[in-house]
């Protein structure tokens, strides 16, 4: 009867208030049978990492449309590492120029989903990593 459910934190770091994408993704993940912890707007990287640890999620999905991603996303991964929780997989989305993607990946963001990404792609990404 033991069942391992995917738990995932969806967060909006920084001050950006555009949460349409985050909310749509959260719903799609729920409809794919996952447990989604949504922490709302204006989260600091510290808050995101602490919540992720307490909620024991396997994934953190970050959404940022304000252009502050290069600043905020790597902070999350480095704080995870400091807390010994770098097994949590971080991915991101939003208005992110493709030139920035190599930098973000180098900083430990596993994947970046740009504008126009289907939610099925995100779900597949999560499922494939869970199967590993």
């Amino acid at each position: 009867m033991s069942e391992r459910k995917v738990r995932i934190l969806v967060a909006k770091p920084g001050l950006d208030g555009h949460d349409r994408g985050a909310k749509v993704v959260a719903r799609a993940l729920r409809d794919a049978g996952m447990e989604v912890i949504y922490t709302g707007l204006r989260q600091t990287p510290e808050q995101i990492v602490r919540a992720a640890i307490q909620e024991d999620v396997q994934f953190i999905g970050l959404s940022c449309l304000s252009g502050a991603h290069n600043h905020l996303f790597p902070k999350v991964t480095s704080l995870l590492e400091e807390s010994g929780a770098d097994d949590i997989i971080v991915f991101g989305g939003g208005v992110i120029p493709s030139d920035d993607i190599p930098f973000l990946k180098e900083k430990g963001i596993k994947e970046i989903f740009g504008p126009g990404t289907g939610t099925d792609k995100i779900i597949n990404f999560i499922n494939s990593l869970c199967d590993e």
């Binding site: 749509v24 799609a28 707007l41």
Partner: protein, 559 residues
């Protein structure tokens, strides 16, 4: 033949047509879809005829331009008198940089300014606040003190331009700064004109740059109404915005409904604070989105105009015609831009801009093709502005008022949108008004549902987005995107520190203390904010005083 006879004949013809030619064709070749729908999920008929409208109500429902209920436009001459204001929303990095962009746009023939502020400014944080880290100057210009505002409008005479500022929770502070700059330029405050967005309700609903709880926000808003009606008669004190509601995923009808529901809440708050409807209603302005379902969008603008006129007249018993005129700014739909094949966005924006003009907008911002990826470059902003100029000068659509009126489809959709919006407004009334409906999360839920439905439609291929889920190509990642250097933040913080060093800190403290006691009481806060601004108190300091007294808003947990 009488009108009735004509209708009767048409009904018979219609029946024959459906059973005859239409049925035959359908049997041979079915239509592309089982059902055609608009964004508001209205089923679209194969054809529209006089049967779909009630032409006997022409005077009641349409009238003439500049005449109640203003369906055909708010002014008698519309664009034959003068074109809409071409107003590109812009602002980035620091005040000096943005000032340069404004002067460029004015040189290019733009007729009004539209200031974009960065997120810390919009949420009332100084550039050195820990939450501002990484956000300074990113989505707009960073303003910390009056000194920044002085630089922002350097060499731009404030009596010659009208300025729209997208600022909400701290609107009072930025307006006070603008007034102070005007005074310094020697321009009388009765000469300045422009708009502050000042629409906090939609921040709770869709945009997220709120600070204080609803009740206290409403107080600030009505304080501004009152102050402006006495001191800055040409200022539009609020721009009630459906734009962001639509961007968050609403349908066209929901955009109208929730915007007008918010507007009703503002009017009620103002009346409750002791103002007369005719004292402030003419300074209310609106801000809508223009999306891609072309005819539906045109109908939407017309429906909004008509419904608002009726609400102001029948519900609030306004006497002045000016109170009933819904004047609006339009921005083309940011969420319809694609990161894929960005040149296609020029075409999208053209259609959206055309819909706004055919819908009778008073001012227009056209998005730039690269905005799904970053802030626009100068080149792409120019194309966006040229799009408006081509529509104005070459297309001929501006030469008569409301040229699509009388199209059976347009009129039928106008009626439909108005009716649905009214239904929503009645439901929101039942819940106790817009503020209550927001606290309950009702409006947010309706929008989130529509957004999700739309996305699922795109993923199933039912909704086609060219270049995204059909007609894709392999493409190279775009180059030459505008980037805001991190040095902007460092420089801005240095600037802030310098201002703090050079100001009279005693005067600042006194102004902030005065503001605090006024906030704890019931006085109009505008004069106190103005005093603080002139003493070079920072935006963050002023906002913190009010945060202390008013508390902060916590969102409803709605997905």
């Amino acid at each position: 033949m009488s009108y009735e006879d004509m209708k009767k004949q048409l009904q018979d013809e219609m029946k024959k047509w459906k059973e005859g030619p239409l049925a035959k064709t359908l049997a041979r070749a079915p239509e592309r879809r089982e059902e055609f729908t608009t964004s508001s999920e209205y089923v679209v008929n194969p054809v529209y005829t006089p049967l779909d409208i009630d032409e006997e109500k022409y005077m009641e429902e349409l009238g003439l331009p500049g005449q109640y209920p203003y369906t055909r436009g708010v002014y008698p001459t519309m664009y034959r008198g003068r074109f809409w204001t071409m107003r590109q929303y812009a602002g980035m990095a620091d005040a000096a940089e943005s000032n340069k962009r404004y002067r460029y746009l004015l040189d290019q023939g733009q007729t009004g300014l539209s200031v974009a502020f960065d997120l810390p400014t919009q949420i009332g944080y100084d550039s050195d606040h820990s939450l501002s880290n990484g956000e300074v100057g990113k989505v707009g210009v960073a303003i910390d003190t009056l000194a920044d505002m002085e630089l922002l409008f350097d060499s731009i005479p404030l009596d010659k331009v009208s300025t729209s500022m997208t600022i909400n929770a701290p609107a009072a502070v930025l307006l006070a700064m603008y007034i102070a700059v005007a005074e310094k330029q020697g321009v009388g405050v009765d000469k300045i004109s422009g708009t502050i967005q000042n629409d906090v309700l939609k921040e709770y609903i869709a945009r997220g740059t709120y600070i204080y709880p609803p009740e206290q926000s409403m107080r600030l808003i009505t304080d501004i109404f009152e102050y402006c009606s006495q001191n800055i008669p040409k200022w539009n004190t609020i721009s009630i915005s459906g734009y962001h509601i639509r961007e968050a995923g609403s349908t066209a009808a929901q955009e109208v409904a929730f915007t007008l529901a918010d507007a009703i809440a503002y009017v009620e708050a103002a009346i409750e604070s002791g103002l007369e409807i005719d004292q402030f209603a003419s300074r209310l302005s609106f801000f809508f989105n223009s999306h891609l379902n072309f005819i539906e969008e045109v109908a939407k603008f017309r429906a909004a105009r008509r419904l608002w006129a009726k609400i102001v007249k029948e519900r609030f018993h306004a006497k002045k015609e000016n109170s009933m005129r819904l004047r609006f700014h339009t921005q083309t739909g940011g969420s319809t831009l694609t990161a894929q094949q960005p040149d296609n966005n020029i075409v999208r924006v053209t259609m959206q801009a055309l819909a706004a003009v055919l819908g009778g907008t008073q001012s227009l911002h056209t998005n730039s093709k690269d905005e799904a990826l970053a802030l626009p470059t100068e080149e792409s902003v120019r194309i966006a502005l040229r799009t408006q100029q081509i529509i104005a000068h070459e297309s001929g659509v501006a030469d008569t008022a409301d040229p699509l009126a009388g199209s059976y489809y347009v009129e039928a959709l106008t009626d439909q949108i108005e009716a649905e919006a009214m239904e929503y407004i009645e439901k929101i009334d039942e819940l106790g008004g817009a503020v209550k409906a927001i606290e309950l999360g009702y409006i947010q839920q309706e929008i989130a549902d529509s957004a999700y439905k739309y996305q699922m439609g795109v993923e199933s291929g039912e909704n086609i987005v060219v270049g995204v889920n059909k007609f894709q190509v392999e493409e190279e990642s775009p180059r030459n995107l505008l980037r805001i250097d991190d040095i902007v933040e460092t420089r801005q913080v240095e600037r802030l520190n310098k201002v703090k060093e050079n100001r009279d800190n005693e005067a600042v403290k006194k102004a902030l203390d005065n503001l605090r006691s006024a906030a704890e009481g019931t006085e109009n806060l505008m004069p106190f904010i103005l005093e603080a601004v002139k003493a070079y108190a920072t935006l963050g300091e002023i906002s913190d005083v009010m945060r202390d007294v008013f508390g902060e808003y916590k969102p409803a947990e709605i997905l």
